[in-house]
């Protein structure tokens, strides 16, 4: 085994790795539309954010707001009808959108791996789970390892995610949902990616398993010092495991900052409504929909601020002009004309 692959062994649990300066990922004014027979679906509208090395970013927002679309843009795995209109995705210095297909293929999993929304079906039913992980290793390790070395690595990863290493010789149908999801995490780690995108990695699991998997994911992330983008519509989950938080609405990133800042003082009306309907981070999750009115139609997104039809603070300006992303305190960005009017969080008892 090469030295750089054995990060697991060297590091102390819980110890935060040294952070290099400079972000690992920089998304810059990304615009992505889906072409449909009725027109363009504006799924990602002018989204910018950065993630530092070893940091984690949570992306929240209601269903259909474009979270998965961002994830797929980062992987460059969009469906055929998707068009990236503008923007940059800079991963560790290179703009992914400028790479050839072949170069991008080599980056996938090696630099940027993914834990999928529908991870239950993400295993090919006819191959052993270990062999499917080995496929990634064979493709991406600088020096293609022998089967024995690769298997040793997979066994190590299995232990790390709480699976019996003997399971690597089993087929996917012999795994329970939670085990499959753990194995997916093991596979995501197999090539030491710089960043992992976890798109609703636990939605298909029951609550107890969800907690365990999340906990493991977080401790692994700390241990490996990799960056992670964690996508969910469950804001309470995200708050527990990420240090930065982005709130999306209708294809736009509307608020972005340290998780604790956004939680303590959400400045965007949508974030504020979302958070005040979540009674407590640790308490029971009530997935109330605090919003009145229709969810936005991204074929014909509202003018100006996309939230204005449902916003209690909306003014005439909101319907006419799009609010820019503004840094209202260091590292805390909000896109709203009237963020100052958004009150403090309601009391915990609400």
């Amino acid at each position: 085994m090469t030295a750089d692959r054995s990060m697991v062994a060297g590091k102390q649990e819980g110890e935060k790795p040294e952070l290099d300066p400079g972000p690992i990922l920089e998304v810059d004014h990304l615009i992505m539309n889906y072409r449909t027979k009725d027109g363009y679906v504006s799924a990602v509208q002018d989204v910018s954010f950065t993630i530092g090395r070893g940091e984690s970013l949570g992306l929240v927002g209601e269903s259909g707001c474009g979270k998965t679309s961002i994830a797929m843009s980062l992987m460059r795995l969009l469906p055929d009808n998707a068009e990236i209109q503008a923007g940059k995705i800079v991963l560790d210095g290179d703009n992914l959108l400028e790479l050839s297909d072949e170069e991008m293929r080599r980056r996938r999993w090696n630099d940027i791996a993914m834990i999928f929304q529908g991870a239950m079906n993400s295993w090919n039913p006819v191959y052993r789970v270990g062999d499917q992980i080995r496929e990634a290793i064979d493709l991406h390790w600088e020096e293609k390892p022998t089967v024995a070395v690769a298997n040793a690595r997979i066994a190590e990863l299995f232990e790390l995610v709480g699976l019996d290493p003997a399971m690597m010789d089993r087929y996917p149908h012999e795994f329970s949902g939670g085990m499959k999801q753990r194995a997916v995490i093991a596979m995501a780690l197999s090539c030491d990616p710089k960043i992992i995108i976890a798109d609703e990695p636990t939605t298909a699991l029951d609550v107890i398993v969800q907690e365990q998997v999340l906990e493991e994911l977080r401790s692994i992330q700390h241990e490996f010092g990799m960056s992670i983008i964690y996508i969910s519509h469950d804001i309470a989950v995200i708050a527990e495991i990420t240090d930065h938080l982005g709130v999306m609405y209708a294809g736009k990133l509307v608020e972005h900052g340290l998780t604790e800042d956004v939680f303590a003082r959400p400045r965007h009306p949508y974030a504020w409504l979302l958070l005040s309907s979540t009674p407590s981070v640790t308490g029971p999750r009530l997935n109330l929909n605090p919003l009145e009115g229709e969810p936005p139609d991204l074929l014909h997104p509202p003018t100006g601020c996309r939230f204005h039809p449902r916003c209690p603070f909306a003014t005439d300006q909101c319907a006419a002009e799009e609010p820019p992303m503004e840094e209202i305190e260091p590292g805390h960005l909000v896109a709203c004309w009237n963020y100052e009017q958004v009150p403090e969080m309601k009391a915990e008892s609400a």
């Binding site: 090919n124 006819v126 496929e135 990634a136 087929y171």
Partner: protein, 386 residues
């Protein structure tokens, strides 16, 4: 796997008995007495009639006859042909069986291999001109009235172009002073094909089991495959039989091609739709995200899974294949089970007809078994549970 096989074989046996029962009572439900058919036949000497009557138990009640019949079939004691007296039915059928196996075997194998590859490529290049062309051809071939198509092939390649003989199994003139019977040559051909096939299977299995690293495994396979091919070639080059084998092979081209074309069209259509399904699966997306090259995604991930429904369909297609086989044999005068059955029915050679039907039933069950085993082999979800 052993348990799975045992269960399957038992099921097969029971099904075969059911089939024989139905066959027996269907034939007996026909108007007229069986014995009357050959009692009146002047070609059969009286002693033979008496033997037949006793062997078939025709002087017994129907149920006793039935038990007699089952016992006779299971011991391959199928009686004597009325038409080819005194040849036994077993002898006639055992001569015809390999010829049918050969025709079906080659046509099925070829159409599956080529059809699968075509269907795969066509699904992969969805929307291309190649796809449209293949689809149109396949749909025409698949929906065409098969006997008409077979006659057309015979007329065009046999009669118009004169490329191939007009049916039959061999050119009698060439066999005038042959030191072998047609059967000897033909069975040697079959045996060598079977050995080559078994060799390939053995190599795949053995290298898969004993050579862990992929690169030496591929190398070992190539070398061993080459060895098999060379030894086959050497055998047929040296063997004095090859001249006669070539004559038989020449006669097989047209019927095999005709049958293959029709199966091929069906397999292509099936594989294409199955492949389009698998391409939408989540694990294909996983493979892309993993950075697996597109060709590998197509072959190792999509096509491998698309194979499963195609294999299942084989079971459903067995009736079609047998029907097609009988038509092919009769149009190309190919002396297999189908033609034997047809001739026997025409001259009311009841023992041969019933024997041929029993054999065809057995063949269908056997094909079923092969498909089942193959499926279990391809799909770990079945393999492990069994």
């Amino acid at each position: 796997m052993v348990r799975y096989l045992t269960i399957r074989l038992l099921q097969m046996f029971v099904l075969f008995l059911v089939f024989l029962t139905i066959l027996f009572f269907l034939i007996n439900a026909q108007p007229g007495d069986i014995s009357a058919q050959f009692v009146g036949n002047p070609d059969i000497p009286p002693e033979a009639k008496q033997i037949l009557r006793e062997r078939l138990g025709l002087d017994q009640p129907l149920f006793a006859q039935y038990l007699f019949y089952i016992r006779n079939v299971l011991t391959l004691n199928l009686g004597v042909s009325f038409d080819h007296y005194p040849r036994t039915v077993a002898d006639i059928l055992l001569t015809a069986l390999p010829r049918t196996l050969y025709l079906f075997g080659i046509a099925t194998l070829l159409s599956y291999i080529v059809g699968f590859q075509t269907g795969k490529m066509v699904a992969w290049r969805r929307g291309s001109a190649a796809e449209t062309g293949t689809m149109v051809t396949s749909i025409i071939l698949y929906t065409v009235f098969y006997p008409w198509f077979a006659i057309l092939m015979l007329w065009f390649f046999g009669s118009q172009l004169n490329w191939f003989p007009l049916g039959k199994f061999l050119t009698p003139a060439q066999w005038f002073d042959a030191p072998y019977t047609a059967n000897q040559v033909f069975n040697t051909m079959l045996l060598s094909m079977f050995l080559a096939g078994a060799g390939v299977a053995l190599v795949v299995w053995g290298t898969g089991k004993f050579v862990a690293e992929p690169v030496p495994r591929t190398r070992a396979r190539r070398i061993l495959f080459a060895l098999i091919a060379i030894s086959m070639l050497a055998f047929w080059l040296i063997s004095p039989m090859s001249r006669y084998a070539a004559d038989i092979a020449y006669h097989t081209v047209l019927p095999v091609t005709t049958l293959t074309l029709v199966f091929y069209a069906a397999i292509t259509l099936l594989t294409r739709s199955s492949m389009l399904e698998t391409l939408r699966e989540d694990y294909i997306f996983t493979a892309r995200a993993k950075g697996v090259p597109e060709k590998v995604i197509r072959d190792r991930h999509a096509a491998r899974n698309a194979m499963l429904p195609v294999t299942t369909s084989f079971v459903l297609a067995i009736a079609f294949i047998i029907g097609g086989g009988i038509v092919t044999e009769s149009i190309f005068s190919w002396p297999g089970l189908g033609l034997t059955l047809l001739n026997a029915v025409n001259v009311e050679d009841l023992p041969v007809a019933m024997g041929a039907l029993a054999f065809i039933g057995l063949l269908a069950l056997f094909a079923h078994l092969v498909a089942d085993v193959l499926y279990a082999f391809l799909d770990p979800r079945i393999r492990v549970q069994g």
